[in-house]
Symmetry: C2
Subunit: 285 residues, 2 copies
């Protein structure tokens, strides 16, 4: 594992404001934080991310990873967040090769709902081969959905955020290894990517869960992390579908409670277990 | 009104794919389209947007408007979408002044979940003054929410999109004037901004509705369009709240059926009408 100098500068995730409801009652409402965080690499300004601020160091690292500006964690010496100046300073071992070219390209091709690098990533997706010898059982999928549902989240308190989880896939079970929420779904997946590097986690035996839609970038990022299983509570787009087919990803949408739709990569899925009843909550007495 | 050469090149919004559900049944599922659309202005490549493609001309115009690369519709001579090359070519009357500076700035400050220009917009928000002499009644709000709920949408068919509406505000009533859905919430609001220019619609007497979260950029864009009323089915972020307060916008979140939370700008809201019961659907016989 790399030695890396790291702050741990999470911001509070929710703030209370007052609102007036439909009955005219004044209510205290928790809302999600949102902060600009300007990323500097070796003192050069890269861009400003709007973030919940729950995992700013992992976000910065994962952004650089997913934009392929940094090849591996060893290239990073320090990641230091300073909320006084809303900045995160990344120090690299040897500088960012190719930054000018990649930055120019980003300007031109930033995609998503006007989001991240796109053209570049699509060019690379041809080289991605997801592991074929792993499988996901219906039981493990249901275990993951139960654990996600019971997870304490900012979303339950304040809404307005998307969540991503990296989960293990142990035969008939699954456990949440990381869970990150952010105001943008791309930030949440980037923060997972950064934390995977920090924790030395490989994607090949994992499941990636997101509350967000499976658009092209979401599928591309999961593929870049070599994660063969992508699960979402939401739906998907045509390009997300086509890219998942192309990289042979096992992609499941509309996954909630005991329902799901298996869209691609069915050869890795084992619907062997009969659907068990969902766990019942014990009624309050 | 400006004379402008315009294609009308909407793509089909949904595509059918097959999926396997939790019972092992193979089902036909409609999914939302997603297409790269590369924007050229006077033959210079600006960026690639990922879009549903339902309103590509309005999206291109609204993008240029909201990024303040074009001052008014008169500056645009032609907007021509070609799906063979996934491109939209905008021809301007006098070129884009200041493009280099703004493009450089965009690279550095693109925000949202890694989305749109940010620093630039925040600098300008000090100059925004929203109209004070207008009001929104609870009855008009409920009328809007009913009409949005009954509107035929891609979302109902396929999910994975966000919708935005521009609505009139006529005393105790409200009508949907424009409704745009897209895979990114920023595209949907940009397409509304473009269509407002094309239709000569002013924002000052309108309501802006979005299914998406009220993050900083969403509030900034509504403010730039001079729309005093912003309504969302979803929640909001701290920066969205702070900016709405700063520009004195009347902002309502969690608005669905007969529920809502009025967060800011209460002086423009008239909760005079007692909450009527929601319209009942006639049961199928």
């Amino acid at each position: 594992m790399a030695r890396i100098v790291l702050t741990h500068a999470a911001r509070p995730s929710t703030f209370d404001v007052t609102a007036v409801d439909e009955h005219g009652a004044v209510r205290d409402i928790a809302i999600a934080g949102e902060h600009p965080l300007t990323l500097y690499v070796d003192k050069q300004e890269i861009l400003t991310l709007m973030t919940l601020g729950a995992a700013p160091e992992a976000l910065a690292i994962g952004y650089l990873r997913n934009q392929r500006l940094v090849e591996r964690l060893d290239d990073i010496v320090a990641v230091q967040v300073d909320w006084e100046t809303n900045s995160v300073a990344v120090k690299t071992r040897n500088g960012l090769a190719d930054l000018e070219a990649k930055t120019a390209k980003r300007t031109k091709t930033s995609g998503c709902g006007q989001g991240t690098v796109f053209g570049d990533l699509m060019e690379d997706i041809d080289n991605v081969r997801l592991p074929g010898g792993v499988s996901l059982t219906q039981a493990a999928l249901y275990a993951l959905l139960d654990k996600v549902r019971l997870h304490e989240t900012i979303y339950k308190q304040a809404g307005a955020v998307h969540g991503c989880a990296l989960a293990s896939n142990d035969g008939g079970n699954s456990d949440i290894r990381m869970f990150v929420e952010d105001v943008g779904r791309h930030n949440a997946v980037d923060a997972i990517a950064g934390q995977m590097w920090l924790d030395g986690e490989d994607g090949a035996d994992k499941i990636f869960y997101t509350t967000g839609r499976l658009t092209s970038e979401m599928v591309i990022k999961a593929a870049q992390m070599r994660i063969p299983f992508l699960v979402s509570r939401s739906g998907l787009t045509q390009m997300g579908y086509e890219i998942a087919q192309k990289v042979d990803m096992t992609m499941i949408g509309r996954a909630t409670n005991r329902h799901y739709l298996l869209f691609t990569g069915a050869h890795r899925f084992r619907a062997d277990a009969p659907a068990p009843p969902p766990p019942r909550r014990v009624p309050a007495t």
